[in-house]
Point group: D2
Chain length 324, copies 4
């Protein structure tokens, strides 16, 4: 098996890439990969012949195949990008890692925490990069908030409250928690840089028996932060709204809104909070700012991160760890 | 001791009333009582001489006293309205009931569930009316929703999600749950007509040690309804918003908003939800209506309810039962 | 030259159509025409060979040509749809009418009122249908309002106020009035069914000398209705909002909004308005309704109207007359 | 008659003031005057005995009279504040000026431009201060905008568009232009520091014959700025919104809104705007800021301005000149 260090030397100019799965999300990844500097798409793979043929015509210099082994056996392919159905992630990603390929898997990494942890372990053993695609982490407002938090711009973070609801598509085989929750959880863990010490949820399968379509989830963290996440496919109007409350500032992040990020220079001024009955509190309200956000494409940033991680052995942004 | 039936005969024309406590809320109750048909305020009572004097001047025909016994011993007073500090509710209401007076107590009924249940028991033993003043239950949008729910206008209720947050006044001696929560809990119990089978909360004392200023509370009911209540004194902007999702319609209630009540004729249309993997769901969106609401004053409705309850022995609206 | 009546017999099953101009809007018309029942696209025409070739490949059974005469000389083509640059409308539409073809021209009909009137006259002389494409007239909210007005649902219309502003694309060769104004004017004339008796405007060429980028336009109508239209490419945020005030109801129409149409059951109740100094006015506020709107595609409705007009000799909706 | 200079010496410590008119607005002025440093209310005057008596009881040390002459003849009264009905402004203010009193008149200064100009002339002749109370000029957002404009913070001002509409109280004897317009006109003239070169309006008396209840007003200024003002008592919802567009920044001011002032760091970047057909424009969008505004009471600032003007002979803020 070729060793990562040798591979890195070989691909001094371009990293050869294979793409597996051309259904809903795969074509987006393929489009960005073909335009990414330092990367060469060498092969695409899908079981659906018609779909494979369509993309083969657009990319005549790329090998099109329905056999994953064709990618795994190609020594010029150093990395594989997977966007297949969730149930197949574990097996396909495992075979890629076993073949010594760096591996990118669209979220979720696997259909269970056990499988996800096994993949992480196998990647570590072989010193291969394994990255799960949480594209929201690369969206401009989420990154701007991450930068602000890293600079302690909110002071101490007290709590986070998030709603991700709409009158939306029921998924056929996963609950609203698996459908919408990964966005919030990946974002929360990325911002806070810690895993929750407790997670508690209540939900209801209002429409389809056994398939929760609404859930209220509470998280507590060792730092003292508490978080609440409301998820629903059954709400009168669409809302993707996260409020972060800190001692110095507060943030409202509305994904898809005209002003997706608003920073409130508000806080509490207090004296002697321990002497009960004698404390004096007052509220400080300052300016409210909707900062201009950059317009870089999240998928491109995400894949640049993956390839940077391959080249330099580390990521600018950490991939959110799988939770059980 | 005079019996309720006898008292009702005596006051064929007017019910004599005493008001105890003229601090923050008492003057509102006094103002409405003086204008209420069929009611005569006979005495007011407060320990603060200056305050008592001020209201005595405005109401020269009403007896002003700092002794509660002056009210309890007056046979022409059939009902007493209490708006004193919370810690005194149990003792004062108990003395009123012992003296055979119908009793109205501003929320909360007492400072503990045990005390509240004891008052309920004593009122029942003497066949006296005991009512706790949850004025929100008489606000036009809450009543309109109650009427709609009573007519099954939402179909089956799936869940309720409520946020009551602001950058608001920290109370000195009660948590945000005791300060803001009674509004939501009294409203929820009134609408649903059932008590929760489980209640679970997470909160944080961000500013003052031991005094939670943010809380996320989940409730489950035997009917299958789940509810979530978010309470906070630490939020960038004021929000009093409750969403009720049913099988036929959905409601958004924003207290204090320009359109406090919006009814969404939205729902889910489905077929054969039990045959997993074969169900077909589609979303139905119809009109959205902001109904015109009546403009009756909630306090007047609330007190009319109390006196109607005395006269006819029952309430148009049930008083929310105290929860432990 | 074949006469309209004869042509109508010939095309008992399908009306043969030619499309001229495949730039920005033409492809949308072509796409809808190929799917419209009772219509057969026989030829497409564009001076740009590369562009023509691209659409020829997608529509192999359609003749592709850069010569307009190829369409005019084809007896199987009864109608021509024109989406070329504005300066060419008058000449191309004139040649189509001279060749005995029913003619559809994307807005504006011509670059001057004189030219527009000349085309209308020539179409009338030959009993040919000439229609100008004001697609907004077929959008669901505009149609819903037209239906409501036709039923006198607003009572007497008092006034209309419209804002169509954004931080938007300066056009290179037309002012904001010619760019955005046709939407408002076509809609207003269609709703009111009358032409203004006076039009007055003030504007400013803030950025490019000679090219107004903001304008305030007042219109008065013989019925007494007054209207105001604000147009701007220089506004902090996008707004497409029209308010219609009537004696019985009021309407707010926000194009592109989540609730594009809101109907306010509000009005004024008054007594004896002529006896000055003695009148009594009060305001009536009732429900506010956001009706569910149908989702038919406006372009398809527009073209169906054009072909229905050819078949039956009249339009379901009148084409807005050109204004000088 | 005593001369202003002498008076100024006399009142080295306090300026003696009389208040005429205690109806709707007068009590507000009286309340602020009694708390204003350096000012002593010596007399109040109203024709309504009951009303006069009520305020006399609250202010036992102030002379209460129904005779204006009692104020005019008092040498210790240097300034008179008038809040009587509009039709009486000209006569009362004229008598005050003739008696050598500095004079403050609630808006409008008089019922006609001719009368207003005559008062201005008479005040100037006697070197007396005459101020018209446009309290909106002292509201925090209007002042913050004035400061920003004075610093050229918006670059060149292109245009201003204002809407002041509601389903509101029809006045019995003045049109919507005289009722709501003074707010906008006083603010516009104050901000721009110039009078319009042309004013044009269209309106309609929808409800009461002869009394316009909706108006659209255009203004042009020598600097090139154009402005539009929409006024209406007949609108589905209340709106007080002014948009100011400049070359560097844009402002949205919503009176009474949660964020009354929002500053958009937006503009247009262009090259060679004179070479037609070759210019290149692009839009620049930066941060949006809702600045925290100060909370000083507008009436107090306004009256401080009046008394500062008396003491120092000039105003911090110019009184808006009357328009004919």
């Amino acid at each position: 098996m070729c060793r990562p260090r040798e591979r890195r030397d070989q691909m001094s100019e371009h990293i050869g890439v294979g793409v597996v799965g051309l259904g809903y999300w795969g074509p987006n990844l393929l489009r960005v990969l073909t335009e990414l500097p330092g990367v060469q798409v060498r092969a695409i793979c899908d079981l659906d012949a018609e779909r494979l043929n369509r993309f083969a015509q657009r990319h005549p210099s790329v090998r099109a195949t329905s056999r994953l082994d064709d990618l795994l056996e190609d020594p010029a392919i150093a990395a594989i990008v997977i966007a297949t159905p969730v149930f197949s992630h574990y097996e396909i990603a495992g075979r890629c890692l076993d073949a010594g390929k760096h591996t990118f898997v669209e979220k979720p990494l696997a259909a269970s925490g056990e499988h996800a942890r096994d993949l992480v372990r196998r990647a570590a053993e072989q010193d291969l990069r394994l990255m799960c695609g949480h594209v929201f982490l690369y969206s401009p407002p989420v990154r701007a908030i991450a930068d602000l938090l890293a600079r302690k711009g909110l002071g101490e973070i007290y709590f986070i409250s998030s709603s991700r609801v709409n009158l939306g598509l029921h998924q056929r085989d996963v609950s609203v928690i698996w459908d919408l929750g990964p966005h919030d959880f990946s974002i929360l863990l990325s911002w806070l840089g810690e895993s929750p010490t407790s997670v508690r949820a209540i939900g209801r399968d209002s429409i389809v028996s056994g398939l929760p379509d609404v859930a209220f989830i509470d998280l507590a963290f060792a730092s003292g932060v508490i978080a609440h996440v409301e998820l629903s496919w059954l709400s009168p109007s669409k809302l993707r709204r996260t409020v972060i409350v800190g001692s110095e500032r507060m943030i409202v992040y509305e994904d898809g809104g005209i002003e997706p990020l608003r920073i409130f220079d508000h806080g509490v001024v207090y004296r002697d909070p321990e002497t009960f009955g004698e404390f004096h509190l007052s509220y400080r309200t300052g300016d409210i700012v909707s900062p201009k956000l950059d317009t870089a494409e999240p998928i491109a940033l995400e894949l640049e991160d993956f390839f940077g991680l391959i080249r330099r052995g580390r990521s600018r942004r950490r991939c959110a760890r799988p939770t059980s």
